[in-house]
Symmetry: D2
Subunit: 283 residues, 4 copies
Amino acid sequence: MEQAILLIQCPDQKGIIAKFSNFVFEREANIISSYQHSTDPDGGRFFMRMKFVFDNERYPEASLESDIEELASTLDAVWQIHYESKVMRMAIAVSRFDHCLADLLYRVRSGELRVEVPLVVSNHEDARELVEGHGIAFHYLPVSKETKPEQEKRFFELIRDSSDFLVLARYMQVLSEDFLTGYGKDIINIHHSFLPSFMGANPYRQAYDRGVKIIGATAHFATSTLDQGPIIDQEVGRVTHKDKVESLKAKGRDLEKLALANAIRMYLEHRVIRYENKTIILG
Amino acid sequence: MEQAILLIQCPDQKGIIAKFSNFVFEREANIISSYQHSTDPDGGRFFMRMKFVFDNERYPEASLESDIEELASTLDAVWQIHYESKVMRMAIAVSRFDHCLADLLYRVRSGELRVEVPLVVSNHEDARELVEGHGIAFHYLPVSKETKPEQEKRFFELIRDSSDFLVLARYMQVLSEDFLTGYGKDIINIHHSFLPSFMGANPYRQAYDRGVKIIGATAHFATSTLDQGPIIDQEVGRVTHKDKVESLKAKGRDLEKLALANAIRMYLEHRVIRYENKTIILG
Amino acid sequence: MEQAILLIQCPDQKGIIAKFSNFVFEREANIISSYQHSTDPDGGRFFMRMKFVFDNERYPEASLESDIEELASTLDAVWQIHYESKVMRMAIAVSRFDHCLADLLYRVRSGELRVEVPLVVSNHEDARELVEGHGIAFHYLPVSKETKPEQEKRFFELIRDSSDFLVLARYMQVLSEDFLTGYGKDIINIHHSFLPSFMGANPYRQAYDRGVKIIGATAHFATSTLDQGPIIDQEVGRVTHKDKVESLKAKGRDLEKLALANAIRMYLEHRVIRYENKTIILG
Amino acid sequence: MEQAILLIQCPDQKGIIAKFSNFVFEREANIISSYQHSTDPDGGRFFMRMKFVFDNERYPEASLESDIEELASTLDAVWQIHYESKVMRMAIAVSRFDHCLADLLYRVRSGELRVEVPLVVSNHEDARELVEGHGIAFHYLPVSKETKPEQEKRFFELIRDSSDFLVLARYMQVLSEDFLTGYGKDIINIHHSFLPSFMGANPYRQAYDRGVKIIGATAHFATSTLDQGPIIDQEVGRVTHKDKVESLKAKGRDLEKLALANAIRMYLEHRVIRYENKTIILG
């Protein structure tokens, strides 16, 4: 037996749920959960996440997938399938501040996040002990204005084949469009503000200067436009006039850890769908 | 054309979604949204809320319903159907504190809550002006220990046929089991604490005495066991050592209004399902 | 006996608290509460709010104030004093959406907000019944591009002497710098976003387009730079991909009411101090 | 120069702030911050936290303290003083679940919490590697019904002189009244529910069974009455009908970490005052 998560999107039309639930029913599979979303039932876009258990001896993955493709093509649908038995591989990049990294590694080790971490890349040496203490390969790739293209190339080669997605856990370097395009897989970034407020550098300083009463953190997909990719999760917390930049940073660290961990948890459950610079969280 | 919301629950089994989505598809209805929940895909209970638009000239409500019954019986399913064109009727009871009542009446008048309010019952005169100012009938039913059975009888007669459900918007009288059973429809109560903390009388005083740092309010279905019915919504807010009982009450009023309004909104959308002294909120 | 709230600000220096608490002690007054804030104890700015009860027969207000002035001048301090017996007067302006207005009027009538409302000004007729139902004068001042200067002039004349501060409870007209300067008193605005995100028009549409996972509302002092005045309170709430612009507006209304009511409550308690485009909330 | 935090409590009376701020002023000390709280200005209890910098060469600690004692005795005041240069020592006890422990150790190592951790005690071996990896002594003290008194004795001897306070970071053993009394110093516990809801064992199971829509965690002082000591901080988070006991636990872990870390941070800043089974958080 195998458990699968099927993600589908297509133009909204009558009968989609019926067709896919029939498809699954005919293969004697048991639906564990099923979520749908329509941007607009009259001619919008339809999204579905269906989790089911099937007998992969009678219906091997390859034949299941070719059958799905056949059905999907009749609906003009794009689809992906993920199998429970296959564990995702998450590469992580970090600079100096390692609170998100330490938080993620703890969640991985304790089994809360079911994911492999093949390696951590950093432009600083600071996190080496933490990473190697978890038995994970640490790659120190210092960067300067001059060496940036070369450094990115090495970074890229390290993660290209070894990872299914990349997490920027407070990696303070902007990645080039070539890197993003070349990698082709999802990149999740944590930005230390409530986007779209305070994009760019020093968001806690910006928040302090503006005198906001609530700060936030935003986990989002990195795209070629800095801090403007689809938002996955946001967390917020109250602050007061007593907070200086340093205490905003301290309070913010807890929000960053939470937003990033939530985003990755949902991502690993294949609940996060990107659509038109937004995310749909199914379930 | 008519819009319907179909609520189903039955023992979990393969093919339920397929059967109902086929049912709808075969009648050329368009599913607007569909939510499911299984308490346990291996032999638990299955719940579904399906919203669809159908042509009630070709498929009149009566025939639709008899077809549903036929399908449901094969699945051992319990079901309800609600039609968009039929507006629910909400009776309200209140005692002295009218903040929840005023909040609800504003939301009804502004169109935020789509519901009729046929009458308001109170054991005090205080809210008469507010209620009648909204053009709603106000019934003053004073109560004492001696007159309680008689008062409840009049209360019951007023709401029995005129309402589809009853909201206790800070009605500070315990309703007898006879009343609850006789009425037979849903009763939503707002309790001014974060249940199960501080059941019974004077919850803000209890919260003050315990020194909690967060207070709450709970909207729940009233049952014969005081403050122990299924919880629909809870809202919370921070307090400090500076708060006295009076300021807890003031802060709590905003939580009460919010929890009750949210619960009613979800109830009117037929998203709230009672099951084993809990609620399932579909969607 | 009279209760007073004394607000002081001055360059930070040793002995300020000692001098003022001695001052009060020598006049046999009883300090009810006292809050201080220093932007930086080494040469920053010092703020204090001191609430005390004094015998105004022995120490009449006028002599108390001239004594304060004498002390304050030795510390280069700016100060204000407010007496419990004097109730503030709050003018309100509103356009079409009256949820904040209705919320405020309920809070005033129920005694939660201790303030007089001499009048409500609107560029629409919609709120007349609500306002007059509370026995408050309603002034309809329609505005067009051409009549704006004339309309503002009438608005100004209505509130200049009759109010101590002005609340813009979803008044959708930008006030001219002349108006702001001429009025000279505080103006509190509610902006329907989590500033500085989504300044300007249609913030819920902006929030929808950006795909944020949390929306907010901001109560702030109006200044000549739109939506950039000192923030008093912010409230936030979660939203999902299921929310359309309309449901963001509905959820946002509750945040707006709360943020504005909280800001006004603190303002009426004289806890809100403006400093360098921020607010300090004492206590 | 030294920085001190002076904590005072006494019957409320006129002139307390004046006397203490004079006291400090006369010693040429600079007040950094000062917070007061009165349970009731008419004959209640008064609390003050005053942070100041003084020249400890001219006014050595011993003479400062004897002067404070002299003043305090005239006001019937109880007081404590803490010096910035002295770092507190926090013993930690843990059982199997080490998420709070790992979180605390990270915060200590990163400098966010300024505290020494002399040792960690556990009735299980699980956390040894984590603790020793931070260079901290780990004491394994297994416990059974029979060995409990003996185990507590060893526990007690380990922490009695080596620690200033004890943190129960998910230590699942009830400490005897003898232990509590013998230790005499503060013990901070994290309870994995929103107290007073769900006291005792398996609170997440209790929360699941009750069907609450919000769960919480509570950091409080341990007293001889289980889960009923003064509350320091509470954190809450939303859950839904989709959450099983396991996911409540996962969500709860983040609340527990946050509540405990916040409580310890405030405790280390000497902001937390115990009074009548409640806490007053000054500042």
